[in-house]
Amino acid sequence: MKFTEEHEWLREEDDIVVVGITEHAAEQLGDIVFVELPDVGTEVSKDDEVVVIESVKAASDILAPIDGEIVEVNEMLVNEPSKVNDDPMGEAWFFKIKPAEPGQMDDLMDEAAYNKFIA
C-alpha cells in the first residue's frame, strides 16, 4: 500500500488502483455526512479534485493521486457517508483508477514513511 501527503492510500489490485483516505485523515475530518463521487469514465490528472467529502463542519476535496481513468466508484458511500469514519482503510474506499502511467506510484510513501509523516 502507498500513501500521499494528502492522506490518501492506494492499493494495487491487478492493473487498477483502489484509493481511499487514511484513518488519520478520517479522524481529523470528524463525522463525514456527505460524499460526492466522480463519474465512471472520467479521465483525471494527478491533483485534480475528484471527490468532495463534507464533515459536519467543513468540506474537503480528495485529489487524484495519479493520472488515469476512473473505472469504478464506491456508491455505498453516497447513502452511508459515515462508513468513511467506520472503516476508512477497508470498505470505505472511494474510487478505482486505471493508471495512465505505470510507475507513477513509485515516488509515493510506503506505510513506514507515512507513519513518520503524520507522527
Binding site: D31, V33, E54, A59
Partner: protein
Amino acid sequence: MSETTDALLPLPLKALHEELGGKMVPFAGYEMPVQYPMGVMKEHLHTRAAAGLFDVSHMGQVLISGADPDTLALALESLIPAAVLGLAPGRQRYGLLTAPDGGILDDLMFANRGDHLFVVVNAACKAADIAHMQDSLPGIRVEEVTDRCLLALQGPGAEAALAALAPQVAGMRFMDVAVIAIDGAEVWVSRSGYTGEDGYEISVEADRAEALARALLAQEGVSPIGLGARDSLRLEAGLCLYSHDITTDTTPSEAALNWSIQKARRTGGARAGGFPGAERILEEIASGPARLRVGLRPEGRAPMREGVQIFEGDAQIGQVTSGAFGPSLQAPVAMGYVPVAQATPGTLLEAELRGKRAPLRVDSLPFIPANFKR
C-alpha cells in the same frame, strides 16, 4: 473571521478541556475546544437528548452601573432598540447594538440585576462594544468582567444537573437571572442559552470554574460539548451567528429580529426611536424590508455553507449565511437572505454548488422547535 495562531489567549479551563480530550482551535482570539472525543455529531445529539456543558468564557461579560436603575436603562436604550426600562429585576432580554445606518454592530443579552445591568456580548465584538458603550454613555460605568468564566449547560437534563448543586434553579423560568451560591462561590445564573434547548448560562469566578465544571460533569447525562456542536445546535434552532447571519450590512427587520424590538421603542410607542439607525429600522418595521433571513433546506444530502449563492432562474437573488449538516434532522440545513417575494416557506429555489445547480427550499425557522421553560 481571520484567525492568527500567535497571541491566542488561553482560557482558565484549558487544562480541563485537554484532560477531557478536547481538540483546541483558535476562535475569536482564544484557544477553544471545537470538539471532544465523542465528535460533533454525537455531541449535538447528546445535548438535545440529555445535557451538554459548554465553555463560553471567550464571550464578553460587562457590567453597566454608576447611576439609578432608570438612568441606566435609558442609557442602554440610547444604543439598542430593545426596551430596557420596564424589564423587571431578575429578568434578561435579547438585544442588538445598532449602527447609525441601521446595521447591526452585535447581538447581546442584557439582564436587570437591580442596581446594575449585566450584559453578555460576542467574543469577537467585545472590545469594540465596550469602547462604543463607554464613549456613548458618559457618566455611566461600563466595565468588562475579566475574572469570571462563563459556562453554558444546555439540554433537557440541564435542570436536574444544576439543581443537584443548587435546588433553587429549578424554579427559574426562561430568561430569569439570579445570583446564587454554589459550594460557597457566588454564581450568576440565567435560564437561557443559544441552542434552542432549556438550560442555563453560569458565570463563575475563574478560580472556582474548574470545580464547578467538574461537579456538573459528574452529574448523570452531562457531557462536555465543543464549539462545533454549539454551531450546529444554534443553526437548527434558527439563531443568528454574529458576523455571519447578522452584520453591519443587515438590519433587524431583514434579519427577522423585529421581535427583539418591543412596542415601547417602535413608532407610536412610549419611547419610540432614540437608538442608532432608528429612522431606517422603524421604517422597515412599518413597511417591511426588501429582503429577509429565511431557513433553507437543501434537497439531497450536500450541505450548503456560508457564501453559497442562491438563484431563481438565471438571477442570483441571495446568499447562504450559515449552513451545515443538521444532526437532529439528519439533513443539511442553512439560513440566508432572499428577497421578500421569495421568502415564503415552501418556495423552491436553486443554489450553485461547485459549479452545479442544486435545489433548495425556503423553510420556516426554527428547524427544531425550542424547548424553553417559559
